[in-house]
């Protein structure tokens, strides 16, 4: 792993998608992201995962918030719901509760997830709703043209922190682990194949899976989360990492200077749908 991946540009990317023959999941709308944006890898990764898992388009709903990342649903030939800034999880929750047969993929940026939408994450996680939440974490607000985000590093200069950011960044992995997410992983947009595999694993998990994807915003961040920096620091979780050990996962997640990629934690426990069925049984007095 750790192969060095150059930024991918739109035209070349499309060539690749077409050549690969699995554009089936992709809609006629071409991504509107900046050339080189890490998000192209996510479009590729989800396409791969859906094909691998052989899920019919009609049974997939991609739900997103607002932001560059949240443009995601438009690029797929599945059902999609581009909702409001920060509200991807509650809308996705409603979709999944309404029809448990659907495969629900929730998508958003770091601001969408951890700033405005931060209050919803613990509840989606603890309820163990069977869906996959992909957070494209570029440590910045892309769509609004480069302000600081809850995962920006201290000292980061943006248009809203011209004298440097002084707020300590959140640790999304530790948050999700303590919220009770039943699957927590981290991937990197620069490692496309691993990313596709991680999305596939996340989607195969029965329960709430949270995948943080480190991704450069090539337009508004020239100093911090660049491909060059991330390539230097990311590494895989040790082979012997025990995904059933919450404390080991916490320990690994606390190493923020050298982000480790892979599955941090995995737990099999009843999903919200199963819990609701059990409630219905108790309520009917048949249990």
């Amino acid at each position: 792993m750790n192969e060095h991946v150059e930024p991918v540009y739109l035209e070349e990317k499309l060539e690749e998608i077409r050549a690969d023959g699995h554009q089936g999941y992709r809609s006629k709308s071409l991504p509107t992201w900046c050339p080189g944006c890490g998000y192209y890898s996510m479009a590729e990764g989800l396409t791969f995962a859906l094909r691998r898992l052989e899920i019919a388009y009609k049974d997939v709903v991609v739900v997103s918030g607002i932001g560059c990342a949240s443009r995601f649903p438009f690029f797929f030939k599945t059902y999609g719901f581009h909702t409001l800034h920060g509200r991807v999880l509650p809308v996705a929750t409603g979709v999944k509760i309404a029809n448990d047969a659907l495969t629900v993929v929730a998508v958003g940026g770091d601001g969408d997830a951890f700033a405005i939408g931060g209050g919803h994450i613990p509840h989606a996680a603890r309820r163990n709703i069977d869906m996959t939440y992909l957070v494209f974490d570029n440590g910045i607000y892309g769509l609004t043209k480069g302000q600081t985000s809850p995962t920006s590093a201290v000292g980061f200069k943006t248009s809203s922190t011209p004298y440097e950011n002084s707020d300590v960044p959140l640790n999304p992995l530790m948050m999700l682990l303590s919220y009770g997410a039943s699957w927590v992983g981290q991937a990197y947009a620069g490692h496309q194949h691993d990313l596709a595999d991680m999305i596939t694993q996340a989607m195969s998990h029965k329960g709430f899976s949270f995948l943080r994807i480190l991704s450069p915003c090539v337009t508004f961040d020239k100093t911090d989360n660049t491909y060059a920096n991330l390539n230097l620091h990311v590494h895989d979780l040790p082979q012997d990492h025990d995904t059933s050990n919450l404390m080991a996962a916490m320990q690994a997640a606390s190493q923020t200077d050298k982000p480790a990629l892979g599955v941090y934690f995995k737990d099999d426990r009843p999903t919200l749908a199963q819990a609701m069925n059990a409630t219905a049984t108790r309520a009917s007095g048949t249990g």
Partner: protein
Amino acid sequence: MMNRTGTDIQIAICGSAGDGTIASGDILKRAAALMGFNVIAFDVYPPEIRGFGKCISRVRISSQQSYSLKQNSDVLISLNDTHAIPHVGEVRDFGAVIYDDNLIANVPEGGHISGHIHPAQIPYGFSIRQISEQATNSARSRNIVILGYLAELFDLPREHFRKIIRDKFATKPRAVTDDNIKAFNAGLLAGSGVFKLDDVVVQKVDAKGNGADAEMMTGNGAVARGFMEAGIQCYFGYPITPATSIMERLAVEMPPAGGKFLQTEDEISAIAAAIGAGYAGTRAATATSGPGLALMAEMLGLGVMAEVPVVVVVSQRGGPSTGLPTKTEQSDLNLAVFGGSGDAQRIVLAPTNVEGCYRCAGRAFEIAETYQTPVIVLIDLYLSNRYETVIPSAHKQFAAKPRVPLAPNGDGAFKRFELTENNISPRAIPGEEGLMHTVTGLEHNELGRPNDAIHMDMNTKRHEKLKPAVNFPGLTVSKRFGDEGKVKVGILGWGSTFGEILETMYEAQAEGISCAAMKVVMLSPLPVESIAAFFADCDEILVPEVNYEGQFANIVCGALGKPVSRLNQTNGAPMAVADILAEVRRLSGKKPKTGQSDTFTEAAL
């Protein structure tokens, strides 16, 4: 109220928390409903959860349809004199005050209610506590003793009381029921031989009375009932007074019926999940009060923009901000009709009584589905918590028709937002073959793709599609009552205040004032034509509302370009018939009447 025939009595039971005041009122209203009377009842609890705050249960029992509580009660029963004394003035002349006459020696000067009864009122003192203790070895059944006394005083059928008492204590040990029946019988004995209120007629209810079919429901209970009959599939809610009992009812009833119920982390999440579930093709709803609706405003806009059917019940309380959580008000009309960013027209229904809560909640899903948009059912604390007898429909009138999916359109060309003749577009839901599409809160073209250039066309579509809603089949959108043709004074109203408006209208007619009233149930889109026709018939228009600015009057004046007279009060209570009547008299050119017209102010609620 004078022009009524048959039975029309209002009984107020007042005590301290722990005296069983509300339980006593509950048995009284259920027994009266079982007898076949129309019942309207409203309980007032102390704002504090613990302690010995004041409780009042008011029950109006009538043989004809009534529309609100009466201004003055016919009977006040005191289970606690300190709390009941301020309410003595609420009893009409020649009405009764029932109290415990055994305690005079023990209370400080002025502390006994007998010293506060007006000369024109009739005192009925008897030893309530002693009788309770003799019958059951406990003072705790005082609240049942008084029911026996009442049954005797008005010669109400005893068996109906006994049945309700047995039902109420069915889950308790047998001895509890027995004791309560004993207490009731002891009350009967105490009441036998007391002289009756000679101006109260208790009509024998004929055998074909509503008794068996009629159910006592609160407005919130009626909303939950309407939802269940409509086959609600998903409910998401966050607790808030006075809407909470809707979610509590559904939490009990939905799971065994196969519905999905979830208490969410906040109101944003509740409406978001309901919109997600509506988008996924289910009947989904939430319920809240003003503060929650304020949080939901952005999401309602998404529902309008993405054209998702969803039902939101809003029970108003005093505002702004946390405001007066336990007091009624009609001040969230602006928020319900206009709240949110952009031109986000939605459908708002405001039922005027408990039966209306049941119907509007039941029909709301079908309306939301027809117009593919959020529907708000706007009620208030006064409607949420008051009891009325409702006869639910025997047949499933609110049930959804089975969905017929559209023909597949495989290549991503499905026009979810197609501009059609009637502005309603074909709708597909996730899981349906060959109709995949993405919906968005961004302005979008017919395919649902972000597009700014089409904004005017899409805005037009979203507004125009709602216009026919004022003719929605089988839905009372507005209705006129009272004198036909030209009248001197027309009273225009909405929501719970309409009960007091109707009572006022009957009083005004009885005084010889030519008077009509119109209720408007659909507040958005507004049934402008019928309101205009009403205006054309009335010399004067009065719009009474329990809000400060006259929010409905503003909307109506804006829509019709005509001035109206306003009557606005925000004292935490429903508007008093006497106050509306005074305005009607003034507008009709009649001199104000003097006499008994105490306002039903705070003391009442």
